[in-house]
């Protein structure tokens, strides 16, 4: 089974990976609020924000280029709205929209790329997110991999039987639609099987993390310093 790339990044080790997820969440929220209230042409502030992100990626040992590339997934949306604003004559707003959405996406990716999702969710729970939501997210995350794994099996099986002739486009579409139905059915049964196996090992509806969260002095320092930098850059 292939993990998504970002999930692989999150398994790495660096000072940023080692920070308590709560510290990173608090810094992210500060970042997003500071960014959202920054004027679109306050370029020094935006430059500081961008520099902090780049420094974070470097310290975490994440491939900066691929991170920036991944974050471009947001552009189709933000550019569309940007163009609408531009046509409406709000040029500053158009630019701000694209800049800010892109920087926010990079920031979120940086958090997700340095924090394994189970830990991130423990952090969210510790910060007061309702348990039901957290549990739901945990199951979604598990089953996302279940579905992608089943899809890969199906694709492999199909590739093995396809031969070299190459079906017509119409036939291919029908085959794909059929495969999708099978994919959902199989994923459903697989998910049910996993749930049974979890129950068999005394699962009671709560994931206990192996490494409980610990907010140490380094986490406090990290939150205070980066938070202060963000706020100073914002109000200068």
């Amino acid at each position: 089974m292939h993990h998504v790339l970002v999930d692989q990044w999150s398994q790495g080790s660096s000072p940023l990976h080692a920070r308590d997820p709560r510290a990173k969440l608090l810094v992210l929220v500060t970042f997003l609020v500071a960014l959202a209230t920054t004027a679109g042409n306050a370029f020094p502030t935006l430059a500081v924000d961008a520099a902090l992100l780049a420094a974070g990626a470097l310290i975490a040992g994440l491939p900066l280029g691929r991170l920036l590339l991944r974050a471009m997934a947001i552009l189709p949306f933000s550019v569309t709205f940007g163009i609408i604003s531009w046509l409406a004559g709000e040029h500053l707003r158009a630019i701000a929209l694209v800049e800010k959405s892109y920087l926010s996406t990079v920031a979120v990716l940086l958090l997700v790329g340095t924090t394994p999702l189970p830990r991130l969710l423990s952090g969210l729970e510790a910060l007061g997110t309702p348990r039901l939501l957290v549990l739901l997210a945990q199951f979604l995350y598990r089953y996302l991999f279940v579905i992608s794994e089943q899809a890969q099996h199906l694709r492999l099986a199909a590739a093995c039987r396809e031969g070299s002739s190459g079906a017509h486009r119409h036939g291919k579409f029908r085959a794909a639609a059929g495969a999708l139905a099978v994919l959902f059915a199989r994923s459903y049964y697989r998910a049910e099987g996993i749930h049974q196996a979890m129950l068999a090992r005394a699962f009671t509806g709560r994931f206990s993390p192996l490494n409980p969260l610990r907010f140490g002095p380094a986490d406090g320092f990290f939150t205070a310093v980066i938070g202060a930098m963000l706020i100073l850059a914002r109000i200068q």
Binding site: R190, G193, R201, T204, L210
Partner: protein
């Protein structure tokens, strides 16, 4: 002494109407190892899933004196360690160590205790070198061993293994025989592998279309149902020889 597992007149029907179990009576005593034989689809997996209440039918199932009902599920599931037929379903945590520690953590141990248990169990299953690997990067046989470790880490009183030898190479099968024969727990082993069963179990039961139709020594059952793969029956050989003419 109360038996470890006591099943009386157990019936179970799947939602689509398949009558998978049709009046099963079965008893497992302390220290016993029993092999469970039967054709594909005869109800073996369905039966073992009743033992820890994952599926519930009509009739009575008692484990260590406790009826398997909603109130007792947590206790019963700590007493029965189940290795599933499909290890991919059993391994769901991001790393092997976390997966093996999953059960102990659910039993209320601290992280430190759970890690110790997990490492000890991984050593028992000879998989400690893979502690930090992602389970889905393991080979099928390695997954099996990790799944077994995940169950051993919970210190169960009864081990239920559904087809434990599939995917294992011959040395790994022998290792599994050694490992299992050293474990003091009572065991229920679903298998098509009669040699493996013979090495571990004295007693065997045979399932046929949802019914337990025979109970005896492994040898008796294997002979009575002609339950070996090793060679084709003489009439099959004659048939093949004729077709080749």
């Amino acid at each position: 002494m109360t038996p470890l597992i006591e099943v009386r007149d157990l019936r179970f029907q799947y939602e689509d109407g398949t009558q998978a179990l049709d009046g099963i009576n079965f008893t497992l005593h302390a220290g016993e190892t029993v092999a469970l034989f039967g054709a594909n689809g005869s109800g073996k997996t369905t039966f073992v899933l009743q033992l820890n209440g994952i599926l519930q039918g009509q009739g009575s199932v008692t484990v260590c004196g406790l009826p398997v009902t909603k109130d007792n599920l947590a206790t019963v599931r700590s007493k029965i360690g189940m290795v599933f037929q499909d290890s991919d379903e059993q391994l769901f945590m991001p790393t092997v160590l976390e997966d093996v520690a999953f059960g102990p953590l659910n039993q209320g141990l601290t992280s430190q205790q759970a890690i110790e248990k997990a490492i000890a169990a991984l050593k028992q299953a000879r998989m400690e070198h893979a502690a930090n690997k992602a389970p889905y990067h393991l080979s099928a046989g390695e997954k099996r061993k990790v799944a077994l470790a995940g169950v051993l880490a919970m210190d169960p009183e009864i081990l239920v293994l559904d087809e434990p030898t599939t995917f294992l190479d011959p040395p790994a099968q022998r290792n599994l025989v050694h490992l299992l024969s050293e474990l003091p727990q009572a065991k229920l082993i679903v298998t098509h592998n009669t040699r493996f069963a013979g090495a571990l179990a004295q007693r065997a039961v045979f399932f046929e279309r949802g019914k337990l139709v025979a109970d005896g020594t492994v040898q008796e059952i294997v002979q009575r149902f002609d339950w070996t793969y090793s060679a084709l029956a003489p009439e099959d050989l004659r048939y093949l020889a004729q077709r080749r003419l």
